[in-house]
Symmetry: C2
DNA sequence: TTGTATGCGTTATCAG
DNA sequence: CTGATAACGCATACAA
């Protein structure tokens, strides 16, 4: 109902016996600017309404070279951290007139690169990407070539590109200090991909806290290589087999934390009686777990909003490279035991 | 590096001193069809590679009226059910050559309608939508107007439109039967939006099981009106205040289940000792909760894949309306107590 | 205040 | 086997 053959500027112009340019001007809100007569303006608008006219964004894009579209590349959209961030990215982007083309890179560098190509083919105006692989140079090339871009969650220490992340160093430092204050000394750390800034910075925070408080750091207690549940499980199993056991585990991602919980349960141990656990990245449901999980919460909403904001700055012509780290928050629950 | 001015068919044609048509044919894989000489074909391809040519999808879309784009409208992408489904939608769509434009309708009918308009403006080839509001007629109009469409998770009983959901009736029936088998008779049911097929069908399954087993159904035990955590919380509180209490609660969504857990804990009661809980919609972390949650798992992956499949059927010209309900699975854990 | 003409990059028709 | 040429729907420089 409404559009039989889909109205176009041309068809409206024909109906009204006027030129396309006038119709175009009115319907793209430039009536004032071109001093179109109020009467014509009204005629055009009425006719457009009557036909349920909706401008063809494709045609407009071809002409203006702007698609009002942002590419969003995420390693795993079903991961609650990313889906929350993505939500706010979408909401904020739409508020600013942009649509999101979503690509799930499936934690796979190849897919990631293909996604970038795909989005280029689709002429996105800008790109927000949470990179998995070592594609800093590729991205830098695109950025320098004029593609507005912002990294999400991860960045490349040796490549200057706009990014927005949690303050991973500070967050991990606070987490570790918290454990130390509770009397823990043998604190194991299950890291994620060692080549990701996310993991590196969190480990750095962990190290900094240990050093700051003069706690001896046993390098064999920094384990793992991946943000998966499996990694958390395997490494926790291993940690539990060596005596003396750590009294606390600091797990650097929500998935590894689950792996740790599973492993600890399987060994017949309890949190926090037998071993304490603290997780980087908090969840809605952390509070409901068998051992309500003390965790570092990331500012997902702010991360999403900021990513869009930084991108829009670039879209507006501002080419200065800006990186942002947003403050985390320690949510204390009861997975950490107070020693002595 | 690579593309200075971005190569086009025209520029390649000029470089090679041949016509755009030939270049177009070669680069869109129609060399054979048009019997282009192998030599020219090679020249064109080499030049395209050299310039890092990538076809302008926008221009192509304008000409062909196909954008190779699917609109995906979701009430809340940060909800784990939807983010999982969305993931598989994206993966499957991409496999078939389509990109996803994501809209989060924020559980808001107005936003939902705006999203539809927006996606039309963007000329998506088809639409996958999990509708919140009563927009069956609107969607039916679009569908009849030729827009390929599939409903996700919810459908409209009185409007014939393709859809894919879990088998909510059967799933709820099994869940309720499970509770009955465990000796429960006073089983409360916390529903979602009463105007959603999702909630209605689950309630229908609940009723069917009660009737089938001759268990008296107290209508005051069917409560709630929303899939939110808050609703689960409020209604559980209320349920717990009236004596005799239900011995079990069947919560029809993952968020209400959390609300129920919170309310039960607040009342100083335990699951399943004091009251049993069974949730429709399962989670990765259900197993780790204080009371590992017995739940009906939905086939998220299959739902996503099927939605894309149904849409692509339509895209391929098949206009028959097909609805699909996919089997759920009861994951038994330990939130349901065996009575006597 | 309005109209004309051109082009964005492709595809497709029609003619060699 | 190849090449003109028109058209998709819109935006805009230039005229009037």
């Amino acid at each position: 109902m409404g559009d039989n053959k889909t109205a176009t500027l041309k068809s409206i112009a024909a109906d009204l016996g006027i030129s396309v340019s006038v119709v175009s001007r009115v319907l793209s809100g430039k009536a004032r600017q071109y001093r179109i007569s109020v009467k014509t303006e009204k005629r055009v608008k009425d006719e457009a309404d009557r036909l349920g006219f909706s401008p063809n964004q494709i045609a407009s894009s071809l002409r203006t070279k702007k698609t009002l579209t942002i590419g969003l590349i995420i390693p795993d959209i079903s991961n609650s951290f990313f889906s929350s961030v993505a939500r706010f990215v979408e909401i904020e982007a739409r508020k600013r007139g942009y649509s999101i083309i979503l690509c799930d890179s499936q934690e796979n560098t190849q897919m990631e690169i293909e996604s970038i190509r795909l989005l280029q083919t689709r002429s996105v105006d800008g790109l927000i990407i949470s990179p998995m692989g070592q594609i800093g140079d590729l991205l830098k090339g695109l950025f320098d070539g004029g593609l507005p871009l912002v990294l999400l969650d991860r960045y490349f220490p040796d490549v200057e590109l706009p990014y927005v992340t949690s303050d991973n160093v500070q967050g991990a430092l606070e987490a570790t200090e918290y454990l130390i204050e509770k009397g823990h000394q043998r604190i194991a750390c299950i890291q994620g991909r060692p080549d990701s800034s996310t993991s590196m910075d969190r480990v750095a925070g962990y190290r900094a806290a240990m050093e700051k408080h003069g706690v001896e750091l046993d390098e064999t207690q920094i384990v793992g290589d991946d943000f998966s549940e499996r990694n958390g499980y395997v490494e926790t199993k291993r940690l539990l087999q060596h005596q003396p056991r750590p009294t606390a585990i600091f797990s650097l991602g929500n998935l590894p934390s689950f792996g740790a919980i599973r492993a600890i349960a399987e060994e017949g141990l309890s949190i926090p009686e037998d071993i304490s656990l603290l997780s980087f990245d908090d969840h809605y449901y952390s509070a409901f777990l068998a051992a309500p999980l003390t965790a570092i919460a990331q500012p997902k909403k702010e991360i999403g909003l900021f990513a869009v904001k930084l991108l829009c700055n670039q879209l507006a012509g501002n080419r200065e490279v800006e990186g942002v780290s947003l403050a985390t928050q320690l949510n204390e629950r009861s997975s950490v035991r107070v020693l002595n």
